[in-house]
């Protein structure tokens, strides 16, 4: 593991939004190394910078400071065109809200990344069809997204993320909009993808889902406060304790409160809580 160079290497990456009094530090000098084939679950309260970190790793965004090496290439300050192409070839995104284009069929949606790569229509539809077969949606190819259930939509989105053969799958709360059964199906799929040797980064608010991961990162106020390898299939004690200590009988509410609870939990590396001056806990309002 140490002999090979890591897939992703992030050094002291910061992301600052706005300026003057409205400054928000979304990430503060985050350093992180990810090797090929890892399945990382990222947790943390709302506004702790999980999505921001995923966007930077996924080459949708650029860090304000710091370095980012992908496959040993420095990509922190590359141009937009190169960034788009690297993103297209290396990253597969899975979103909480599925994000399939409503006017295209499921098959066309899945084939879209290949279209931007310049693959001919027949070949890319074939590839998309194969990808859909892999997620068990072979018989839904010509449906429109509006005709699928949430779980099916997310499986289609996974097929779209996979169709390009990316080296990294980034899933930002992929089960956030799903019922527990659909969520399970989606998680099993991600797990299968992981077992095939893919690298998966998943943001989740649901501690029980960390059992699919082999590494757990916990974020707080723009920093990584907990980073630990676990065995797949096991929910780490710390997370387990957090869940157990909740007395609420309502399972749903319990899960929702976990993040809030974990906010108070100290990380293993005992990072001193930095004094952060200006920070809004609320999600950035778009404007």
């Amino acid at each position: 593991m140490t002999s090979k160079s890591p897939l992703i290497s992030i050094e002291e990456v910061s992301k600052v939004y706005g300026f003057g009094d409205a400054t928000t530090v979304a990430l503060e000098e985050v350093s992180l190394t990810i090797n090929k084939g890892e399945f990382i679950a990222i947790m943390g309260p709302s506004g702790s910078g999980k999505t921001t970190l995923m966007n930077i790793i996924g080459l949708l965004d650029r860090p304000t400071h710091g370095n980012y090496k992908l496959n040993d290439k420095n990509v922190a300050r590359i141009g937009k065109i190169k960034q788009a192409k690297l993103r297209r070839d290396n990253i597969g995104f899975i979103f909480q809200s599925f994000n399939l284009l409503p006017r295209l069929t499921v098959l066309e949606n899945v084939a879209l990344p290949l279209a931007y790569k310049g693959v001919m229509q027949t070949r890319r539809l074939k590839a998309a069809s194969n990808a859909l077969a892999e997620v068990g949606l072979k018989d839904r190819e010509y449906y429109l997204p509006s005709q699928l259930s949430g779980g099916q939509l997310q499986r289609a989105a996974i097929a779209r993320a996979l169709v390009n053969g990316p080296s990294i799958i980034i899933a930002d709360e992929p089960t956030g909009n799903l019922d527990s059964v659909s969520a399970r199906v989606v998680m099993e799929l991600l797990s299968d993808i992981h077992k095939l040797g893919n690298t998966v980064l998943m943001v989740t608010h649901n501690p029980s889902l960390t059992r699919y991961a082999d590494r757990i990162i916990y974020m707080l106020d723009g920093s990584i406060v907990y980073d630990e390898a676990t065995a797949v299939g096991e929910i780490p004690k710390r997370v387990q304790n957090a869940v157990n200590s909740l007395r609420s009988s309502d399972e749903e509410e319990k899960l929702a409160n976990v993040s809030a609870l974990m906010e108070t939990m100290p990380g293993p590396d005992k990072e001193k809580p930095k004094a952060k001056k200006k920070k809004s806990k609320k999600r950035g309002k778009k404007k």
Binding site: A84, F93, R103, Y116
Partner: protein
């Protein structure tokens, strides 16, 4: 990639049919009106040109009155006589015949009087006194019977146009029947073929009764010489002949040039000049309508881009470059206006068909004008799609992903 953009454009146009139609509206109206107007203009031009072509190349027309350029062509003069002041005399006619280079002169004299047939009056037609060479000079054929010859100059015979046959006699071949002019019976001995449109000679034969000049003189009343058709010995001599006639007639008219001499070339030249102005005018209208259409497209494309912000974010997240987003939206705008131009041409063709059926106009839609119209509208689409597409391409993917789908 271009074909990709094209397919994407088609699918988003299909996805928003009503909006797309709205976007194309300006272009559709612009293209259909411009193509219709140009087709009508072409049609009239063809009619005039073909008629001018039919008359003898050696023909020169003398008319009373000084004609201005503007009066040289108006739609009225295509169908009826122009009631110009000034006059030509029989002396002018005879003197013109003596001018060197002149082969023959055919007078067109309006005979005053009312035509009756079967004690029924006919007031709409013209009674024209003329001589035997008129049909050959105007290249006008007879459908039935024969034109009069020199031996019949003093006989009361008449050649009539199709409208006269229809309205006065109510039959197609009234040969042998007689009509009454100023109390004298004239026997119909010929019927002209339908004259498609008036010639540059400005003579509506369809609604005319032609009688020999000498016979007209015998029945009394006045004959007003409206035109003299002069046939030169050869087409090359036309300008010399015109010059000679001018000097002869100016002498006759006490030094005043109160008449107009026009050759075939000149007639074409004036119509062409008028058509050039009409073309400029149409170009202006077209220009304005394309600008208006383009602004309409730009507006709606801007709205489309804002509305589809989320879609743009998704496309970028899965690997679209800014250039690819740009290309997609420009193509969309171009396809919209191309289709708009195409629909506009279809509307114009329908309008032309309606004109053809309901009026005498024969609009001609050339391939050129269709290509130009469709090409220009596509170009308009590309130009007006540029700014909205650039806006789409510049959108920040993360912010876009957060907006509503």
């Amino acid at each position: 990639m271009i074909t990709e953009y094209f397919k994407m454009a088609l699918s988003s146009i299909r996805g928003a049919k009503f909006r797309s139609l709205l976007t194309m509206f300006g272009i559709i109206i612009g293209v259909s009106s411009v193509v219709t107007i140009v087709s009508l203009g072409e049609g009239v031009k063809h009619q005039v040109a073909s008629k001018v072509d039919e008359v003898s190349d050696s023909l020169v027309v003398i008319r009373p009155g000084k004609k201005t350029e503007a009066k040289a062509f108006n739609l009225d003069s295509l169908r009826t006589f122009i009631g110009n002041t000034g006059s030509l005399s029989e002396k002018d006619w005879r003197d013109t015949e003596k001018v060197t280079g002149v082969k023959s002169v055919v007078p067109i004299g309006i005979v005053s009087g009312i035509v009756t047939y079967d004690s029924q009056e006919y007031l709409d037609g013209n009674i024209i006194a003329t001589t035997k060479d008129l049909p050959s000079l105007l290249n006008q054929k007879l459908a039935f019977g024969e034109f009069f010859d020199e031996s019949q100059y003093t006989r009361n015979v008449a050649i009539i146009g199709v409208d006269i046959a229809e309205k006065l006699f109510q039959e197609n071949v009234p040969i042998g029947k007689s009509l009454n002019i100023r109390g004298k019976d004239f026997i119909v001995q010929g019927v002209f073929e339908q004259q498609k449109s008036a010639t540059f000679a400005e003579l509506n034969l369809n609604n005319s009764i032609l009688i020999p000049y000498d016979a007209a003189r015998q029945i009394g009343g006045t004959i007003q010489l409206m035109q003299l058709y002069v046939e030169a010995e050869s087409p090359e001599k036309i300008s010399d002949v015109a010059k000679n006639i001018t000097s002869t007639l100016t002498k006759n008219h006490a030094g005043q040039e109160d008449f107009t001499i026009q050759g075939k070339e000149e007639a074409l030249k004036t119509t062409n000049a008028v058509f050039y102005q009409i073309t400029l005018f149409i170009a202006g209208v077209a220009f304005i309508s394309f600008i208006v259409g383009g602004i309409g497209i730009m507006n709606i494309m801007f709205a489309t881009v804002s509305e589809r912000t989320r879609e743009i974010g998704i496309r970028k997240a899965i690997g679209a470059t800014n250039a690819q987003i740009l290309g997609q939206f420009i193509m969309e705008s171009a396809v919209l206006s191309f289709v708009g131009g195409f629909i506009g041409v279809l509307f114009a063709l329908i309008a032309n068909a309606i004109f053809r059926v309901t009026t005498d106009l024969q609009p001609v839609t050339t391939l050129n004008i269709v290509l130009i119209a469709v090409g220009l509208s596509s170009f308009t689409g590309i130009v007006s799609g540029l700014l909205p597409a650039a806006k789409a391409a510049r959108k920040d993917p993360i912010a876009s992903l957060r907006s509503e789908l």
